[in-house]
Symmetry: D3
Subunit: 144 residues, 6 copies
Amino acid sequence: MATISPPPDPEADPRVRAVFDDIRATRQTDFINNVWRYLAADPGLLEEVWRDVKAVLATPSALDAKTKEMIYAAVSIANACDYCTHSHLASARARGMTAAEQADLLRVVATASKTNALLNAIRPPVDAAFLAPDPADPNPGTHP
Amino acid sequence: MATISPPPDPEADPRVRAVFDDIRATRQTDFINNVWRYLAADPGLLEEVWRDVKAVLATPSALDAKTKEMIYAAVSIANACDYCTHSHLASARARGMTAAEQADLLRVVATASKTNALLNAIRPPVDAAFLAPDPADPNPGTHP
Amino acid sequence: MATISPPPDPEADPRVRAVFDDIRATRQTDFINNVWRYLAADPGLLEEVWRDVKAVLATPSALDAKTKEMIYAAVSIANACDYCTHSHLASARARGMTAAEQADLLRVVATASKTNALLNAIRPPVDAAFLAPDPADPNPGTHP
Amino acid sequence: MATISPPPDPEADPRVRAVFDDIRATRQTDFINNVWRYLAADPGLLEEVWRDVKAVLATPSALDAKTKEMIYAAVSIANACDYCTHSHLASARARGMTAAEQADLLRVVATASKTNALLNAIRPPVDAAFLAPDPADPNPGTHP
Amino acid sequence: MATISPPPDPEADPRVRAVFDDIRATRQTDFINNVWRYLAADPGLLEEVWRDVKAVLATPSALDAKTKEMIYAAVSIANACDYCTHSHLASARARGMTAAEQADLLRVVATASKTNALLNAIRPPVDAAFLAPDPADPNPGTHP
Amino acid sequence: MATISPPPDPEADPRVRAVFDDIRATRQTDFINNVWRYLAADPGLLEEVWRDVKAVLATPSALDAKTKEMIYAAVSIANACDYCTHSHLASARARGMTAAEQADLLRVVATASKTNALLNAIRPPVDAAFLAPDPADPNPGTHP
């Protein structure tokens, strides 16, 4: 199904091995899912993607890990990414998302997609109350 | 900018008036933003959209209101809906989203969009561990 | 392939049974396709989605049923929804869409997608003749 | 707002003049809307786009002109094309789309977008009944 | 998996045969991939799509064939088209795209998708320096 | 128009100042366009986005800078990002993209979007010749 082949023995490459070791240590599991096995075909890209995902999803920040995985899954659904939808819904469940929370997530994604389409059809002007001011702009509200 | 005209005196229609009254009561504000003023051109559609949005965003459920507004905003960004992005980021802030949480939201949306594109390019098979079983399926894993 | 499991005996739940009975009666067939079997995992969501789809596609309105199914299929193609594309093209055929009409549908969807991309690249201003006036707007044509 | 400049005197170019003349004759109006004025910056592209749009929208075929404009508008909304949404909703009205039919169109587009998102989240297998057989395929139903 | 059936003996139709012959001659291979076998179900559409693809990808123009295939693949990834992603990445490789160039392509697509989402969230005004002037516009910069 | 306010004096923050200095040095211009002025509201995000964009677009790699900007613009068009479309078409021109190359770019993006929609409608199986083998997969071609 894929457009690139994963290397047959990815951890023979020390850069791949280091990323896989960090994935296992960070997630406290031996399971390396397919996205990492396939990205191993390009160690530089593997390092970059893991750095990004770790920074956003595995590093403490203002939002808790479960909420971040749910937002990640919502975007993946909207972008029609099959692999990402499966993996981030699974991650959100692993982070504690309950069945009731998943049902809520689906309802919000579905209703948002409905009103997104409706507003992209009607295209009302954005209320001035919603616009953030730009202190360097002498003529707010008339930008093209 | 819009594709339809809002009625000049929307609350002259009792169905519109009833929805606007419910919006004001539910949100405890006199502010009726443009989406509702424009939808008032079609009272049936106005009633339906308010029913949906109220059910999802203004009714207690498993997820708190702030989290639901953040997910709604994330989907709106992914769907490139200008009006919805402004209004739901503003709603999330009104529900208590802090600047640090908004920064987190943007980071998750941005990183998800990056890996969504990457996985839509590579298209690795979904790991069996992520697939939910179907008890009625005699031959799982070989669906077209 | 799915992210949730359908219940093994969905009609044991009386809410699911009631929706399935209404689907069979409305469509005059015993065939319950997968979307309903999977949504049965969440009876509230099943009821909501069937209510929406029935109101739009199985209730007489200004447009005939075949035309509505064709528009539904066109949107599903644009949104890259695999399941929806299959099911709504099949429904449109069941509503009388001929092979020549389906060929027309594909041509319109393809050409629209081409000019959508081209206009999203060129981004010419919308002609004033296409904009609906807003009676409450003192300064039309200069909205941000 | 645009990314390219329209030529100041487009009809000085005989290729542009010929296309503009054909647009006026086909539509029986003197109004040349912005998409054509801007495409005139590249006469070859102007000719190609007018050929495509004329073939699909201004040539008798299985579907009537109004239905084709409505499908075109639906796709434009789904693809978030501002210019196209305005121009094809206006064209559909010029072809006889009533207010009630436009309301139906918006309802179908909105509901389709909702179920598209929901099914892109749940990802049930496509029912075998919806799949078209391929006579050259020795093993249908097991494609990757 | 498909929504239409390919004809069992497509080249029995002389219009299909002519297109297939031209595909084989243009590409100097006997391999006819599935998109053409399926489009053969509608000879008019087959002719139109081959005419378009040949004009863009198999005709000398300002950009070389490899670069055009890479841009084509990038758009296909962004539009979540499974078939197109596979076929145009394969075509780009057949046109000489190296593994390092494909890695670059994936990096650009991924990073663009990230900043696209971020800018669709922040929605800063477009700098005046980027806007192309319209000589017919008396009031640039204030379009709705 | 934006959802966040840019800081009135961004370079008062030394982290912002360092990024702006690097932008000016890298691009050899004093012009700081709006995306950076607005991102300055979140210095951490500003640093991350500039790091990513610089790594992809301003660092020598297999593809030349002009080609990378053209691919970046193509993805931005497909993702309906107004700001990104303007800025990356402008950057591609600054990197040497000629008018004829820009016309080619638009043709490829438009034709790709047309066939993407068509193939997302028809959904033919991906030819085995396009699939990359996975050495760890005992049963290629039957993945769900």
